[in-house]
């Protein structure tokens, strides 16, 4: 329903046709090894390498980085990334692995880095050759992100960095990191400076990456320690002390409210014919039909039917709200819908997982390591993973503060 006919320009229609044709001939097929629910959980080098190959071929074909300038490895064509994304999703391609790079680092570099740094870093970022990670959170800086303690001290044309970052997804694959540091203890917000730093080449030489294990048992994120790690001043983004402002560009894009559309492909549909997508509310209908309850199925239970419909409505509502967010005549305030996006989608995802647990009944106790687990145990895993969505990138509680303050104009919490 969301694609096809439209008030689409000739250029857009032509590009959509091009994407569709290219994807028909160049779909990467089934991965050689199973890939996890999200790129943030990748741990097998073989899976990462295969996904990097896929991103590179999509980039070379012009489906990734479409909206970026040709000087930076893009196609210099405004507003076409969304179409490429829709067509990749339609073709059920696997996801693109450089998710932090494209979703956060890329736009931030594009808007804040020096010209030579843009030319150096953006092409291998968009091609997926360089995987990126994000060094924002610290043990004492979660929801209160500005409470950064990792310190960068100036030393001529370099900076010496000491500190401790946590929840760093993909750091074990990353060549580069976006890094928020304190450069002054005088001022909480204006004492921050933003860098892009080459961590891979410094492993064992000032940078240590250690895995952290999630409640699912899966990995994907890490803690990263810096001990006298030396970084060239050219990798500073914007002015010394402007780190908070630069970080807002990153966060806006992370939450789906940025100026640049993030390249994004499908999901896990490539895995196998009947693989479930545990973040799709409609999938609960099939799950309910397969789940025994009271001598019938969960799909015959009036209460569960009502609960499933509530989620289906919220999911369809979010889709329609995102669509309405692009129609200027039907929005009163340009930030109101984009700022809801992350909050609403992560909470729907969580509630799908929680409801699946109820639908499955006793069998919901079976996990991914049990051959009899309904839907391969993906729902309990997705439910546990969903807390990544409601906690990362600003918890749901912080998101509600932001919405209340910026959109409804309520007094600030801090």
């Amino acid at each position: 329903m969301a694609e096809g006919k439209r008030v689409e320009t000739a250029e857009q229609a032509e590009f959509r046709q091009y994407c569709r044709a290219w994807l028909q001939d160049n779909h990467p097929g089934t991965p050689p090894v199973p890939i996890p629910q999200s790129a943030l959980e990748l741990k097998e080098p073989e899976a990462m390498a295969w996904l990097q190959d896929w991103q590179k071929s999509a980039w070379e074909a012009g489906l990734v980085g479409t909206d970026y300038s040709t000087d930076y490895g893009g196609s210099g064509r405004d507003g076409l990334q969304l179409i490429a994304n829709q067509e990749m999703q339609r073709a059920k391609t696997p996801y693109l692995p450089n998710i932090v790079g494209m979703g956060m680092a890329g736009p931030t570099i594009n808007f804040h880095a020096r010209e030579d740094v843009k030319r150096e870093l953006l092409p291998p970022l968009l091609s997926g050759e360089h995987i990126w990670c994000q060094g924002f959170s610290e043990p004492g800086a979660g929801s209160d992100l500005a409470n950064q303690q990792t310190f960068a001290e100036r030393d001529g044309d370099s900076w010496v960095i000491n500190g401790h970052k946590v929840w760093t997804s993909l750091a074990h694959f990353a060549e580069w990191m976006i890094l928020l540091c304190r450069t002054s203890k005088e001022d909480k917000y204006n004492g921050l400076t933003y860098f892009v730093v080459p961590i891979r080449e410094a492993l064992g030489k000032g940078v240590t990456v250690r895995p952290l294990i999630k409640i699912t048992g899966g990995t994907g994120f890490n803690e990263v320690l810096f001990e006298n790690f030396i970084v060239d001043d050219r990798y500073r983004l914007d002015a010394v002390g402007a780190g908070w402002k630069v970080a807002m560009t990153t966060l806006a894009h992370e939450r789906g409210a940025g100026a640049l559309t993030t390249p994004a492909a499908g999901g896990m549909a490539v895995q196998e014919e009947n693989a479930v997508n545990p973040s799709n509310a409609y999938g609960l209908i099939d799950l309910a039909k397969q789940s025994p309850r009271n001598g019938k199925t969960a799909a015959d239970d009036a209460v569960l039917r009502d609960e499933i419909m509530k989620l289906v409505i919220r999911q369809e509502g979010l889709k329609q709200t995102q669509r309405r967010g692009r129609v200027a005549a039907l929005v009163e305030d340009g930030t109101r819908i984009p700022l809801q996006n992350k909050l609403v989608s992560s909470e729907i995802g969580q509630d799908i997982g929680a409801l699946a647990y109820q639908i499955e009944g006793a069998a919901s106790s079976l996990y991914v390591n049990d051959p009899h687990a309904p839907a391969g145990g993906q729902y309990p895993m997705a439910y546990m993973n969903s807390f990544g969505g409601t906690i990362a990138a600003g918890t749901s509680e912080v998101q509600r503060n932001i919405l209340g303050e910026r959109v409804l104009g309520l007094p600030k919490s801090k």
Partner: protein
């Protein structure tokens, strides 16, 4: 056929909506509304039908009721999204008028194919107010439910839950015959028709049950065809009523947020407290969901009929829940003053309560949606 990116909401629709917004801002501020409809707070007050007929005449002269009448019948021929936008603006000021009832009736007439229906549509375009008399005593929303019988061109029986009955120039009546349900047009001012007003909670409309005793009627849809016509029109009606709730929900949201910025307790304006701030954000999210689904449902009626029922049921379910929640939080966060008659919030609270169940509440529509998407339960 897929939907247009912009919900079919183009420049003409935006112009009509903006004009309506301006008109309501100028003519229907909440203090005037309160003075008009809430002048008598006594619980045993007489049942009244209160509205500004001069304002209604201006609206019909501005062509709002002609907007969604097809051009062939003398109207402007705009899509259903235009009606939804008008309903949203009317909801934002809790406007007492036959506007919503007339827009809903227009949707039924558009599905009839008789000359009589075309004539009736022309009269709507010319300013005639209509309302639907289609519900039985049990309050069933089923397309074939009615307690009115039609024989030999006359109607007998009673229609219940007729919206804005005291303001309508004509009633569109669903009636049973030996050959199935037909649709009829009746002049409620004739002596064979008795309007018995209901005492209702909502102060911004009137409702009645209407008795027919050998009332002469014009046939709009032949016996046996009426239920299917109502069935086809219902998604548009659900979208319109949902939009009314969206407008009222937005007023409740903004008014309560404004109050939370001015009311001080513990040396702070109360909007500082997350126990107030976060639920208000939840109201906003719910208003946005209902609004998006209402426009998507209207657009489906216009462009993607196969999905109209699904999206309309989603819209009405989402809007009904939002209506209850937005009204509830508005009174609560206004505190003691919100609990009083003098605070304007109760006008919108009561309108939301009314619209919540009109044409089916959230539980009803989710059950029907489940039948549609999951199949019937065993």
């Amino acid at each position: 056929m897929p939907q247009s990116n912009n919900f079919g909401f183009g420049d003409d629709e935006a112009m009509l909506r903006d004009a309506a917004r301006k008109f309501f801002q100028a003519n229907c501020p909440p203090d005037r509304l309160h003075a008009q409809v809430a002048h008598d707070y006594s619980i045993d007050r007489p049942i009244e039908c209160i509205w500004d007929q001069a304002l209604w005449r201006q609206i019909t002269e501005l062509g709002w009721t002609a907007a969604c009448v097809p051009e062939a019948a003398g109207g402007i021929g705009m899509p259903v999204v235009a009606a939804v936008a008008l309903a949203e603006e009317a909801g934002k000021v809790a406007f007492p008028s036959p506007l919503i009832a007339t827009l809903c009736s227009t949707m039924v007439l558009r599905e009839c194919s008789s000359d009589a229906a075309t004539t009736a549509l022309g009269a709507v375009a010319g300013g005639q107010a209509l309302s639907l008399a289609m519900t039985n005593r049990a309050g069933s929303w089923d397309a074939d439910a009615t307690d009115v019988d039609a024989t030999g061109g006359t109607l007998n029986g009673t229609a219940y839950f007729v919206q804005d009955a005291g303001k309508a120039d004509r009633l569109l009546v669903k009636a049973r015959t030996a050959n199935g349900v037909g649709l009829y047009l009746v002049d409620p001012s004739i002596e064979q028709v008795t309007i018995v007003p209901d005492g209702i909670v909502d102060l911004t409309r009137d409702q009645a049950h209407v008795q027919f005793a050998h009332a002469p009627a014009i046939e709009l849809a032949a016996p046996g065809t009426g239920a299917a016509i109502v069935e086809r029109a219902m998604p548009a009606i659900l979208a319109i009523v949902s939009a009314d709730m969206v407008g009222a929900g937005e007023w409740l949201l903004q008014t309560t947020a404004e109050y939370a910025k001015t009311r001080t307790q513990f040396d702070r304006t109360i909007g500082f407290f997350q126990a107030v701030k976060h639920p208000l954000v939840n109201v906003m999210i719910d208003v946005d969901r209902a609004k998006s689904l209402a426009y998507a449902a209207a657009c489906a009626v216009d462009e993607e009929p196969d999905n109209a029922w699904m999206l309309a049921r989603m819209a009405k379910a989402a809007a009904s829940d939002m209506a209850a929640f937005s009204a509830n939080r508005a009174v609560q966060f206004h505190g003691g003053i919100g609990f009083t008659w003098e605070c304007y919030v109760h006008l919108f609270f009561k309108r939301q309560m009314h619209n919540q169940t009109l044409y089916g509440d959230a539980v009803y529509h989710r059950a029907k949606l489940a039948d549609l998407l999951m199949g019937a339960a065993a």
